[in-house]
């Protein structure tokens, strides 16, 4: 039987940042660590290692594996808080930076919630992101608009994965912070100048 190709939750965020980055990581299997990714990894060691614990009426689980067969996504969420009194679930994602302009963190969080809803048959209305740089929790309402956006991103990533093609580079300011800059070569690859280059070699 053909095994379904599940989309890792992290791919959604990569895709929103840059579709080519998403393809380089998940199709071409490139990964390069830079300052930011290393800091993120160290920061996650804390959330990854903790055992489940209970504080008052809240059970806290860490590194929870989640999956949605319906959406074809799968991943690990950092922290899941379960209120044992009313059995509400709150996924909490840890990010090293600060709240971003784009919806990338919110979409990833919403996808986590959608997985949980399918797995546990519950409804999740809100979730949270903890930003290390500002040391603050941001509450995210899982409203219909965010849910629709998340589904849309998932289907775009699905299309990217099944095409197996890496989109052309589009150079921008965001390239400067990208850890895959050296493998991507956005400036050299956004326009195909190979023909010109070879013709130059023929004129000694």
């Amino acid at each position: 039987m053909e095994e379904e190709r599940l989309i890792p939750l992290s791919a959604l965020q990569h895709y929103i940042y840059c579709p080519r980055q998403c393809a380089l990581i998940h199709i071409e299997r490139f990964w390069a660590e830079n300052y930011w990714t290393a800091q993120g990894r160290v920061l996650h060691q804390r959330t990854d290692e903790g055992k489940p614990e209970q504080r008052a009426h809240t059970r806290i689980e860490r590194s929870v594996e989640v999956i949605s067969h319906e959406l074809g996504v799968q991943g690990v969420l950092d922290v899941l808080e379960i209120n044992l009194q009313d059995m509400t679930y709150t996924p909490v994602e840890y990010k090293r930076g600060k709240p971003k302009v784009t919806n990338c963190d919110r979409v990833q969080l919403c996808a986590q919630a959608l997985c949980l809803e399918e797995m546990r048959g519950v409804r999740i209305d809100s979730a949270a992101i903890w930003y290390w740089e500002v040391r603050q929790r941001e509450w995210v309402e899982l409203d219909p608009a965010l849910r629709a956006e998340t589904l849309d991103v998932i289907s775009q990533v699905q299309a990217l994965f099944s095409s197996q093609r890496t989109p052309r580079a589009v150079y921008g300011k965001y390239c400067l912070a990208c850890s895959l800059k050296d493998e991507c070569q956005p400036k050299a690859m956004q326009e195909d100048t190979a023909d010109q280059y070879l013709r130059g070699m023929l004129e000694p």
Partner: protein, 338 residues
């Protein structure tokens, strides 16, 4: 560009390498000779009787550190490969292209173009520094002619013929570039080399080939399946393809520098009973030091238009080839100095 990491060359016989926490330790008997942080090492090259602990081997495989074994004289023996990196789609594309003559020819043509252009540059440099020289001038003109005939070769065989012709022209005048008594070059002799110049060239070619193999593996390509070189069991065809771009500009020039500056002398070579000529151990160390220094030089990459260290050029070309195979670039732009 990414940072060029260190290569570790272990030439001390009967050394033992192992991993101690996050460091690589080199021992001889009970003496600790050296200790390096493991994350700063990209390649470990072992010459002769060197042993390596299985755990260090495993670590190298995991971290993508190239671990290669040579005989004492620099003949390649084996390389340790961990889990295959990169992407199966890229390798499928690599094999698919190798099955189609027209696609093979396109990549092979790029490589041969660069090989001829770079050989020609080595001769031009000599003329520029030392003034006009009839034999060299003629060779330069004939190489330009070869280049032009490479524009649209009919087949791989035609292309390989042109490559052979250009190599004959270039090596035909190579002796004129040697400025030390006792070093004479009468043509390329391999397996085994029978004169010091050939011995030095072979040694440098082997070193660069290993770096190219590691770089190809690092971006997920299979070093064994090439385009210019026909598949042969045990031969790293693709690595040898890319080596063609670097032979003259990197290896030959380094050999010339070492000989002409009298950094290696004829007494640095052993002649075996068979007639085979090999670098002595001390001389090998000198060559490795010079090679390592060369790798740290910075140049502007002609296609990427970015400053890179010479030691990263194999990685750059592997990356660019992967991008061509994955459809970012219509042709493969080889490394060609201006």
């Amino acid at each position: 560009m990414k940072k060029l990491q260190n290569s570790l060359y272990v030439t001390r016989q009967e050394s033992y390498l192992h991993k101690e926490r996050e460091t690589i330790v080199i021992k001889q008997g009970k003496d600790k000779l050296a200790q390096f942080p493991a994350h700063a090492v990209a390649n470990i090259f072992c010459f002769g009787q060197i042993s390596v602990s299985p755990f260090l081997m495993g670590y190298c495989g995991e971290q993508g550190i190239g671990l290669v074994f040579f005989t004492e004289y620099g003949k390649f023996l084996a390389r340790i490969q961990g889990r295959q990196s990169g992407n199966v789609l890229l390798r499928r594309e690599q094999y698919r292209v190798s099955d189609k003559d027209a696609l093979c020819l396109d990549i092979a043509r790029s490589i041969v173009l660069a090989k001829i252009a770079n050989s020609r540059r080595v001769l031009q440099r000599e003329v520029r520094n030392k003034g006009a020289h009839p034999a060299l001038d003629e060779a330069i003109a004939r190489l330009a002619n070869c280049l032009r005939r490479c524009e649209r070769p009919d087949s791989l065989d035609v292309l390989r013929g042109l490559e052979g012709e250009a190599a004959a022209i270039y090596f035909g005048v190579f002796n004129q570039l040697l400025k030390q008594d006792g070093f004479e070059f009468k043509g390329r002799v391999r397996r085994p080399p029978t004169d010091p110049v050939n011995a030095l060239l072979s040694f440098l070619y082997t070193l660069v080939t290993q770096e190219i193999s590691s770089a190809l593996q690092g971006v997920g390509l299979d070093p064994y399946v090439g385009y210019l070189h026909v598949d042969r069991p045990g031969r790293v065809g693709l690595a040898l393809d890319i080596l063609e771009e670097f032979r003259a500009w990197w290896c030959d020039r380094l050999a010339l520098t070492l000989i002409n500056r009298k950094e290696v002398k004829t007494s640095d070579f052993d002649i075996e009973a068979s007639g085979a000529v090999r670098l002595k151990e001390d001389a090998r160390r000198k060559v490795l030091v010079a090679y390592q220094e060369k790798k740290q030089e910075e140049i502007s990459h002609p296609f990427l238009n970015e400053k890179v260290q010479v030691g990263l050029l194999p990685h750059c070309q592997a990356l660019i080839l992967a991008r061509h195979l994955r459809g970012d670039l219509q042709h493969y732009p080889p490394f060609s100095v201006r």
